[in-house]
């Protein structure tokens, strides 16, 4: 049963990843990106890590997708539907993609991981919490600082010099 779900998820994920890059409308591209992110969350469920999966949903779909949609909607309407690319670069890109995929894929298939399966019980999400506050606590604090800094930086960057209040007529 898991195989069918796995196949469906891979098709959704990869298909919507391609769609996200190739669809003409940026809005639909963003929606397809949400599909990719949701598909990845599905993979996480398959991998018995629901905590990461729900976190992925909450963070990516709940906030990042909103941010992206919001930015896209700020852009002029004709730019949303404009597709900018040139042919030669496209062929080069496809070549690069194929090279990467074939090389890495063959390495994976050739290596020993092909046979790895496991019957061990999945990691409990409480262990992750314990990890966070014991072993990784400096990293956690650092991450918090980075998040705060980046959000502040983003706000400072995106803040526009407001319309000065020369409102009142004289």
């Amino acid at each position: 049963m898991a195989d069918a779900i796995f196949l469906a998820l891979s098709v959704i994920t990869i298909g919507s990843a391609i769609a996200a890059l190739e669809l003409r409308s940026l809005i639909y591209g963003s929606i397809a990106l949400m599909g990719t992110l949701g598909g990845i969350a599905g993979f996480f469920f398959l991998l018995d890590s629901p905590f990461v999966a729900l976190f992925q949903l909450a963070v990516y779909v709940g906030s990042i997708a909103v941010l992206i949609l919001f930015t896209v909607m700020l852009v002029k309407r004709e730019l949303i539907f404009k597709k900018i690319e040139d042919k030669r670069r496209k062929f080069a890109g496809i070549g690069l993609m194929l090279v990467t995929m074939i090389a890495l894929g063959s390495v994976f298939l050739d290596s020993g991981i092909k046979t790895i399966t496991t019957d061990e019980p999945p990691v409990d999400f409480r262990d992750i919490g314990t990890d966070f506050v014991t072993y990784y606590w400096p990293a956690l604090i650092l991450m918090g600082l980075i998040l705060a800094g980046s959000v502040t930086g983003a706000l400072v960057l995106a803040k526009r010099e407001d319309v000065e209040n020369d409102q009142r007529t004289s």
Binding site: V163, N165, Q167, R168, T169
Partner: protein
């Protein structure tokens, strides 16, 4: 002005960031007018009021009818305040025709006028409530208004367009037992409107929403020639019932409500205080009124006015309402001009809205005590 484009059609070129919103005429927050609002983000950068959707040419119509038949249509601009709209015209015609009004009729006029003021303000308050998203404040005034409409119906026979004032007095006498019914209902009405404080006027959300928005300073209120509650909210103590008493207002004890702030909250609170004041005036007038006597001087058919001009004004529900009548010794007036308070207050709208947030637009707009139909006439 360019000769090619008719005035009013010239389009301004605007920044791309600026979005033009047509608030009205089919918009829940505009009334019978259009406000062209240009917003930058959430801030209004420019505002152009465009009245005229309900222009009926009352002034032109008045030139074709004689002094008496002008009455039913001249009260149409504000049907909720119809007695007060008619009042200056009637006073002016009385001066032109040289009529002295009986004492009882003057009191009846004052009672009718104050009742009508309350009816108008209740309607205004209902719409102000719904503009602020307060549905209860729509329903309560709309319901309690019924008490006074019932009184007016007993008094004049009609619910809104009374056609009650005529040159020479009022149309008909008070019905028997009216004083008791009026006192009872006005007392209950006063108790009801004092209950609005807890839900509406002392509500912290309303206060924080309307305080310090759309501030009209004292100098500006005078300079822009605003009137009525807008003027009194800016700290100018000016009420025609006190300053230029007509009929019997000089015999009544009237207190003028003045607030210093000049913001939307003050502008919206003043009419409510006025209503409480009106209730007191009605009670006083009921007490002082002669218990019997004539209420109307019989006129000749088709009276002709003196060759004169008169300008009379009264304090209506929205402010000073003037009527300029030019007579040329014919049965019809040569020209009737209504100087209506809504039109005079409208000038403050673009001034107040500039730099305001879009969310403040309805509250500032409606706090001007503005009635679009009256401004269009």
């Amino acid at each position: 002005m360019t000769a090619e484009l008719p005035p009013g059609l010239a389009l301004q070129k605007v920044d791309e960031r600026i979005m033009t919103l047509n608030v009205g005429p089919q918009h829940p927050g505009s009334g019978h007018m259009r406000i062209v609002v240009q917003i930058d983000g959430d801030y209004i950068v420019a505002c152009d009021p465009d009245p005229g959707y309900v222009h009926r040419g009352e002034e032109k119509m008045a030139e074709y009818r004689n002094y008496i038949t002008n009455i039913p249509h001249l009260e149409r601009p504000v049907i909720h305040d119809s007695c007060n709209v008619l009042y200056p015209y009637v006073l002016g015609v009385e001066e032109l025709l040289g009529i002295e009004v009986p004492e009882r009729a003057k009191y009846v006029r004052v009672i009718a006028s104050e009742l009508n003021r309350c009816i108008y303000i209740m309607y205004w308050l209902a719409i102000y409530g719904i503009f602020l998203g307060h549905s209860t404040m729509f329903m309560w005034p709309a319901g309690d208004r019924e008490l006074l409409i019932d009184l007016m119906e007993k008094m004049t026979g009609a619910r809104v367009t009374h056609a009650h004032f005529v040159p020479g007095g009022v149309r008909n006498d008070l019905p028997p037992n009216f004083e008791d019914v009026c006192l009872r209902q006005v007392n209950y009405f006063e108790k009801r409107i004092k209950e609005y404080a807890a839900v509406f006027y002392d509500n912290p959300i309303l206060i924080s929403r309307t305080r310090d928005t759309g501030i009209l300073s004292r100098q500006d209120a005078i300079r822009l020639g605003t009137t009525g509650s807008v003027l009194r909210a800016s700290g100018v103590d000016y009420d025609l019932r006190k300053k230029e008493p007509y009929d019997v207002y000089d015999e009544l004890d009237i207190h003028t409500n003045v607030m210093k702030e000049g913001d939307s909250y003050a502008r919206s609170r003043i009419p409510w205080l006025d209503m409480i004041e009106s209730c007191k005036i009605i009670k006083q007038a009921l007490q002082k009124m002669p218990k019997s006597g004539s209420v109307r001087v019989k006129l000749k058919p088709n009276p002709k006015g003196k060759n004169e001009t008169v300008y009379k004004r009264v304090e209506s529900g929205r402010g000073s309402l003037g009527c300029y009548v030019v007579s040329d010794s014919k049965p019809e007036p040569y020209r009737v001009k209504l100087s209506v308070p809504s039109f005079r207050n409208l000038i403050a709208l673009p001034y107040l809205l500039k730099g305001e947030k879009l969310g403040n637009m309805p509250s500032v707009y409606w706090s001007l005590n503005y009635w679009p139909v009256e401004a269009d006439r």
